[in-house]
Amino acid sequence: MPDIRATGTGGTDAGGAPVAPPAVRVEGLWKRFGEQIAVSGIDLTLPAGRFIGLVGPNGAGKTTTLSMVTGLLRPDQGRVEVAGHDVWRDPVAVKSRIGVLPEGLRLFERLSGRELLAYTGRLRGLPGAEVDKRADQLLGVLDLTGSQNKLVVDYSTGMRKKIGLAAALLHNPEVLFLDEPFEGVDPVSAQTIRGVLERYTSSGATVVFSSHVMELVESLCDWVAVMAGGRIRAQGPLADVRGDAPSLQSAFLELVGATGRDTAHEALDWLGGGSAGGAR
């Protein structure tokens, strides 16, 4: 079991009480795109040392929220603190403490996987030899050693997510933000990513990831925030958010008010096998 955390920042124990500031504290966060309100004044407190799921339907504002929390998108209004530091006033403290894997943004794809890690690590100010050592181990653990010299542009979706995860972990961040890390990823790669993330959180670090796959969130996370229509509908330990509902899925559907929408069949009466004309 190679230890890739080099210089930890005190190392809060997994079982220890979280006396430390919350991993993320968001107050009154707003973002508008023209007429569209993407995030409307959310408050959110995510405890440190947890595996946290940010769930919600497409267009709920998850990506916008994560972008603003990680300093990639400027909020219209509101405060964001990561590990007790203001993201917009103290970027030095925040950027060195977080790792990010955004969704829908490119990587430097004309570099090979190994070159990408070497580049990212050096940009992070790590010494060259240390970067190469960590890159070796990450490539190994993420099952990318065989394709380390292939250009990222030739990687599959699963491989891209894995190399992105490696780049996000390289500087051993305290909090890791992952936007849809399992989207479009095959089961084998997903299991690999899962294993790495579980090991990472068990050492006291925090993972915040967004997803709309409830089963996944239910099986991975111990803390959940539910988002819909740019607002936080519920947040808290998984069991609390689930409440009496049989699964997170049904609790979620109730929270976002999507139950009992079964009146669609008459609107689609033309849809069905055989009745349509030739498709060509």
Binding site: L105, S112, E115
Partner: protein
Amino acid sequence: MSAPAAASAASAAGTGVGPGTGELARIFVRLKLSLLRNGLRQSSARTAVFVLSLVFTVLFAAGLLIGLIVLRGGDGAATLTVLLTGLLALAWAVMPLFAPGGDETLDSTRLVMLPLRPRPLVAALLVSSLVGIGPLFALCLVVGSALALAHGAAAVIVSLLAVPLALLICVALARAVAAANVRLLTSRKGRDLALLSGLLVALGFQLVNFGVQRLGEAGGLSALEPAARIVAWLPPASAIGSIDSVSEGRYGAALAQLALSALALGALLWSWQRNLTKLMTSPDGSTLGAAQESATGGESSGTLSRLLPEGRTGAVMLRGLRYAWRDPKTKASWVTGLAIGLLVPLFSAAQGTGSVYLACFATGMLGMLMYNQFGQDTSAFWMVAQTISTTREAYEELRARALALLVITLPYTVVTTAVTAAVLGDWGTLPSALGVSFAALGVFLGTGAVASARLAYSIPQDSGYKSVAPGQAALAWMSLFGGMVAALVLSLPVIVPTVWLHLSGDRGTLWLILPAGALYGLLIGWAGLRVAAPVTAKRLPEILAAVSKG
């Protein structure tokens, strides 16, 4: 938003043949207009820039139109209009390879999934290509040419054919070249042929340069008449030539010229349609080539990385140099810059009309690569943004990018200047020419850094068609042209003394320009980076948003 509209139109046709040409054209024109509108709606500053460039173009086109009308019946009217049309066609051919915003419209490869037949698709795309500032300008020029040339009823009738023909050829030319270029850039062997398109641009440029010099030295249009006589038979200038032929009563020639243009339009449309069909039906071959490259690339870059400094500076330089070689778009602009930079001074020197100072051209061409640095990163800029939290880090990032450019540009400038001096046998001017080059280089790097921070724009990667995202073309032009003007102004403190020393005949002290220029370039470059660094550090999210449109 309109793609589903196209789809529903397709299914509405029911039988599966797809919508008719007219209907499809209407859909595409609407799509183009809404793309433009949406691009503008995202920022009011961009709207202002767009309106400004529209006004500028319209004024220029109107001036041209009036000028051509005034020319009516004059001696050089035929020569000038024919050559202008030829130049216009050349510009349209080169635009998709080179200039930003050349084709910010529909990327037909996105329509792959729709049940569209190639023929109506090409026709509809052609019609929608006629919407825009560029076609408006072309229309003004062609109409002006017809007005300047047409005498008599027959000529008017021919004009009615010739004007749309010339316009359509220009637009089709741009489309056909763009489609061919996409295939080039995405095919395996084409990756290296990207070099060719760069060279082509360089040669075309040199041709124009040659013509302009001729014009200057021989005094007047008459020197260009032989050229015009040939160009008058080349489409689309032959369409304009036919108006002149009819006006002079040479009906046979006119008919032949018109036929040539019509034939050319047909050939262009055919080639475009062929390339388009292949593009839409065959897989992208780029991945195969890339995998091979990387297998061979490992060793040499290992040595390179050892030569570069540690830390951010070395990492950024290494990535910049790798991208210059591996990224087709970056490679093409490097090759264009290197080729033009060498060809312009050498050709001119070989003709005996040149000057060692023309070698500064290489500096300018390569210096332009510093502009829109972050746009070249595409949305991968987030990886950079995540590691910049202080002005110091932003400064190091920009400085490393400038250094990566310098690693190639500096020796190249020295060699180009020396070779030009050797061809001209004018070694006395070498030091001062180098001094001006170094100053210009510093100015370009400095202003480029500021432009990168202030006026970042997206370079779409998924399509070889476009070098600017919809709605950002004006921003791109402002960055490039504003940058060029600023660079020229900032270079004056070195250019003026150089000119003055030449005029005063004080050749003994001319060498002083070398250290002075180098020092000045260093100073301006450093100052530019210093100005750009805090702006970059403060605007990281804004820059990321601006470069993520592609």
